[in-house]
Amino acid sequence: MGHMEPVRGDDALSRRKFIVAGMSAAGGLALGVAFPGLANARPLTGAPWSNDALAIATEVNAWIVIDPDETITIRIPHSEMGQGAATSNPMIVAEELECDWAKIKGEFASPNRNVRENNVYKDQNTVGSRGVATSWQYLQQAGASARARLVQAAATRWNVSASECTAENGAVLHKATNRKFTYGQLAADAAKVKLDKEPAIKSPDQFKLIGKPLPRLDTPVKVNGEAKFGIDTKQPNMAYAAIISCPVVGGTLASVDESGLAGKRGIVKVVKLKDAVAVVADNTWRAMQGLEALKINWNYGPGANSDSDSMKTMYRETLTEPMIQVRKDGDTDPVFANAGKVIEARYEVPHLAHAPMEPMNATVHVQPDRLDVWIGTQNALGTLQQAAKASGMPQEQVYVHNAYLGGGFGRRSNNDEMVQAIAISKEIGRPVKLTWSREQDIRGDRYRPQAAAKFRAVLGPDGMPQAVEAKVAVGSINRSQGRPVDNGIEGQAVDGIVNSPYKIPNFYVGGQMKNTHLPVSFWRSVGGSQNCFFYESFIDELAHAAGKDAYQFRRAMVDRVDFVGVLEKLHEASNWEKKLPKGQGRGIAVAENHGSVVGTVAEVTVDNRDQVRVNRLVVAVDCYHVVNPKIIEAQMQSGAMFGLSAVLYGEMSVKAGQVQELNFDKYRVVRMAEAPQVEVYLVPSGGPKWGGIGECGTATIAPAVGNAIFSATGKRVRELPLKNVKISQLASL
């Protein structure tokens, strides 16, 4: 597909022209742009989950409904958490359908139907940046299949061969006789057509819709309060619950003194769970107030013996233990044995919380013959299965109504809040909405693991690395979630180092996993979120030790087309060679993360009070194929801001086993005043693979910023977050 123009928004007017021009090819006008005042445009409604019906009369197949008024509704299998699946999925289907994009509506595919109809919507787990990457083929196929059936339905009515008919812009034409049927007229017949063979799908060079910066389908309902999130659910006879779990994870509930509730209005019940206590009331605030009025005793358990110091010590000590080898190129041992100078460094990062804007919540109604769940989940099907297991109800009787998610970032595929809500609903015999407070959301999080890494390297006479040894110590996500670990080490523990593209003749990577009492899970970019900071910072140390430019040093070590494309675009777009004023610095980092190659150049200012200001981020990404460049740009900016919060402020400090940063006053995140300009360049190189976009934007932010700080000050940051680092007091290297 070649190089694309940068998608930067400062030229709004020319981009608007591009959008309108682009849309005319598909026959419609982008409503949001062409008619900004059109409040009635609702391609996605406020409550976009389907009604769980099996095949309805106006379906052409399980993915596509065509109404007599020509409205086309496309079922979206993935969750919408801001990453744009609710727009990109329909774009891929519509690409094949040959329809009017202005007539497209979207609806979230029913996980219950997925269960009852032989997994028709396949894997709905919207994680790992895999949404588009794993579904583009069957989404294209669904659209192509529907198109072929519509064509056949028309051909049958005209008594001609399908090969004489064309599908264009929502109609089937028999040009030879100037006859036409619209899709709306054909839908019912099309549903009954049995094709002899399924049509081939388009190849990327044939795309007309995919690749266009179409406006998001959910924007209209996200600017006027209509978009419903799980937390907005209201059901008849619904009670409201608030909950607190043991402040030391792994502890249990000992006793509850409810006397503080006397005289409090609207209290329904106190529900005790093994490790938590909930108050049920007639609105959210009364439930939260009720919770605060309880006197709770906990058995804190062994986790209470941990604190930040003991946890840091554990990971440092783990680095000295035998490692499990995950990569060995050549042999590093003799090189180190004979080396004059060995460059060494140790890096460390803390646990991190997800903290999506919408705190975790679930509304649940346990009934004798069915279970309804209203929630925002990253995995509609998985949540249904988890609800069935937690309630003992057969899966066919569980209905999960998936709303818009107020942020996912990896947190919303483990529905701990739903399991609690099911227990509460059972105990009170009514529907209940359980809303976690922000404190509970962070207290009850499954964190990005804590980690440490130790590197050693020897440079050759030409200044390039002869040997690099990387050892990591990190919390195991698999073990934390009760999943098996093969050969003692899991992929995410070493991702970002083990898949290094650099041509280093002797390269060793080993890891060892240890867990604290804190649960750990997938956090945007996962292993890359710590390992890219570790590794790309150390590579930068080597460049400096060699007296070489940080870009040239890396460029000399890669020959992969995707890495070369990203590096060269960063070099050009960041104006890398231009000298910066004193006190300012520029840093670069590149990595492969979740199927794409990404890189960042950061420009920072470090003042004489050690305050770091990130002024500019330049991001380049090769995701091989582009569905919607506007959404990709947004995602890269999003990943950047998420990574920036982590590098500047993010940490879970622990005292007596308890996480201290429970709200945004202590768990600080980036706001407008700190948000830099983020320039995004797409350099898709095509080929058989479609890369992911949800996470890679975060992976190279921390090392780019750290490397920029070095460029500005000569001081190497080896520990995050920056708020704990007195840069001027670091040893000079």
Partner: protein
């Protein structure tokens, strides 16, 4: 206790505690869910409404203190005939929202800023401290400038 709130031009007489936060009176008692709960301690701004035209964080305001004032939520920002507020129109044109959860608060904060400063500088925009975990700040800034140009 009877607390009378005028929200988006409609009067609601609620039988609630005077110290129930305005946020929860709006969401749970009146049933307008566009105003969101994000932190409960006025740190994030997801709960931003206008009280007599001034942007306020409703999670930290007792409902009773808002009685007798004109309260506007996101649902009341567009005009009665459905025409979007210039800030909402700019948000659509720039495709600002991602997950969308913080956006009601962002829009209310931006609308209040533009009322006070029809031509805000970037430094003025920096004064909006609403949190967005999706990081839409670059487009929020652009949309505010766009809305300022449109209004002018």
């Amino acid at each position: 206790m009877a607390v009378t709130l005028k929200v988006n031009g409609q009067t609601h007489t609620l039988d609630i505690e005077p110290d129930m936060p305005l946020l929860w009176a709006i969401r749970d008692e009146i049933g307008l869910t566009g105003t969101k709960f994000g932190c409960g301690i006025a740190q994030c701004g997801a709960c931003t409404v206008h009280i007599d035209g001034v942007a306020m964080r409703s999670c930290s305001i007792p409902a009773s203190t808002a009685a007798g004032k004109n309260i506007t939520t996101i649902e009341g920002l567009a005009s009665a005939d459905g025409k979007l507020h210039p800030v909402q129109a700019a948000w659509v044109a720039e495709d600002v929202p991602q997950c969308g959860y913080c956006q009601s608060g962002q829009i209310m904060a931006a609308a209040a800023l533009l009322k006070e400063k029809p031509n805000p500088t970037d430094a003025d925009i920096d004064g909006i401290t609403n949190i967005c975990r999706c990081g839409t700040y670059v487009r929020i800034r652009r949309a505010i400038h766009r809305a300022a140009t449109t209004k002018a």
